[in-house]
């Protein structure tokens, strides 16, 4: 038996195989133009409006046009990859691939979705203010700091879900 096949026979290997499959399938679906037009873009607009609501609490007078969030002081365009969907799919794929009862998966997905939404709005708002006050730091904050934090947040959320809610009913 090849080492890869042997590894895929272990619980960790089965998790990784299922995870990679679910993640690939979900990103493939997101890449389809009708899904992009009818789901991803409207979802990104919702994220922009959530960030606008928060910014306007601070008196920014922000507006949204499509996926562009603007105020008199700064504008950010929210693209695919910045809308939180990648973190949601990383988390959801981990939840789906973990062998726990479906009811716990559904609860995990719903709560995780909300947590990532909040996290992503914090990301967009913080990047907006980085753009206002330290525009020279925007690129490094956007690509390096927040994308690293997004990955870690998704993993930590999954660890907490498994440990607190899913491990009791897990079947390998």
């Amino acid at each position: 038996m090849s080492p890869i096949r042997a590894f895929l026979g272990t619980p960790a290997g089965r998790f990784i195989g299922t995870y990679a499959l679910v993640l690939s399938a979900s990103f493939l679906v997101l890449a389809l133009r009708p899904v992009n037009d009818r789901v991803v873009n409207p979802y990104t607009t919702v994220v922009a409006h959530e960030a606008r609501l928060v910014l306007n609490l601070f008196g920014e007078g922000a507006t949204v046009s499509g996926q562009v969030l603007s105020s008199p002081r700064f504008s950010v365009a929210i693209y695919n990859g910045c809308n939180g969907l990648e973190a949601i799919l990383i988390f959801v794929s981990g939840v789906v691939a973990f062998p726990s009862p479906w009811r716990r998966k559904v609860v995990g997905i719903a709560l995780g979705f909300l947590a990532i939404q909040v996290f992503n709005v914090v990301r967009v708002v913080s990047l907006f203010y980085v753009g206002v006050f330290r525009p020279q730091w925007f690129s490094v904050s956007h690509v390096f700091v927040w994308q690293s934090l997004v990955i870690i947040f998704g993993v930590v959320l999954w660890l907490v879900w498994v440990r607190r809610y899913a491990v009791a009913g897990a079947r390998f």
């Binding site: 590894f7 272990t10 619980p11 960790a12 290997g13 998790f15 990784i16 995870y19 990679a20 993640l23 690939s24 990103f27 890449a31 695919n80 990859g81 990648e86 973190a87 799919l89 990383i90 794929s93 981990g94 690129s139 490094v140 690509v143 390096f144 994308q147 690293s148 997004v150 990955i151 870690i152 998704g154 993993v155 930590v156 999954w158 660890l159 907490v160 498994v162 440990r163 607190r164 491990v167 009791a168 897990a170 079947r171 390998f172």
Partner: protein, 195 residues
């Protein structure tokens, strides 16, 4: 199936994570000046491997890569691509590894080396697909003359997958795959090898 390991293992992991993240950033900052020239040179080598004439170019410029072709006009079709977008995922991966208990104990170095090699290979491929995407889509008549519709779709798909899903999911996959015993212990499960 469940271990009796209390949840404090996970809490200890989460407490170590900020420090591990700081350590990972330091490693990344130190390694980057050495790593990026190798990344660009390897990608250019791969791009030219089956190319006649070998003209694809990946030129390091600060923290960016200039992607283009040397056999076209100097002012046409060059793309400045931020390399951080490709190799930033080294930071979350290293942070997750360093936050594990005794991450560099005997025997775990090899796993770390293999994982880093996989990550580096993904970085090279990611940059390569950016270059091929540029050549297939953004060089006007030259692109249409040299890349079929099928090739354009293939390179578009590869670029998309390496740009987002692979970049974002690989740290978790490598972490679980390289340290299954430690990760399963964090989850409150017995080590996979014991089952």
């Amino acid at each position: 199936m469940r271990s009796r390991a209390p949840a404090f293992e996970l809490r200890a992991f989460l407490r170590r994570l900020p420090l591990a993240l700081a350590g990972a950033v330091i490693v990344w900052a130190v390694a980057r000046p050495v790593y990026t020239p190798i990344l660009c040179a390897t990608t250019q080598f791969l791009a030219r491997l089956f190319e006649v004439p070998p003209a694809s170019a990946v030129v390091l410029q600060g923290g960016d890569a200039l992607l283009g072709r040397t056999d076209l006009r100097a002012d046409s079709g060059w793309l400045k691509f931020p390399l951080t977008q490709i190799h930033f995922n080294l930071v979350p991966f290293l942070a997750l590894v360093l936050a594990l208990p005794r991450p560099l104990a005997a025997g775990r170095w090899r796993r770390l080396a293999v994982s880093l090699a996989v990550l580096a290979a993904a970085h090279v491929l990611s940059l390569l697909w950016q270059l091929k995407f540029l050549e297939a889509f953004s060089m006007g008549p030259w692109s249409r003359a040299n890349y079929s519709d099928v090739a354009r779709n293939v390179y578009g798909t590869l670029r998309y997958f390496f740009d987002i899903p692979v970049t974002f999911a690989l740290p978790l996959l490598l972490w679980v795959g390289s340290y299954p015993d430690q990760v399963f212990a964090l989850l409150g499960l017995e080590a996979p090898a014991k089952r």
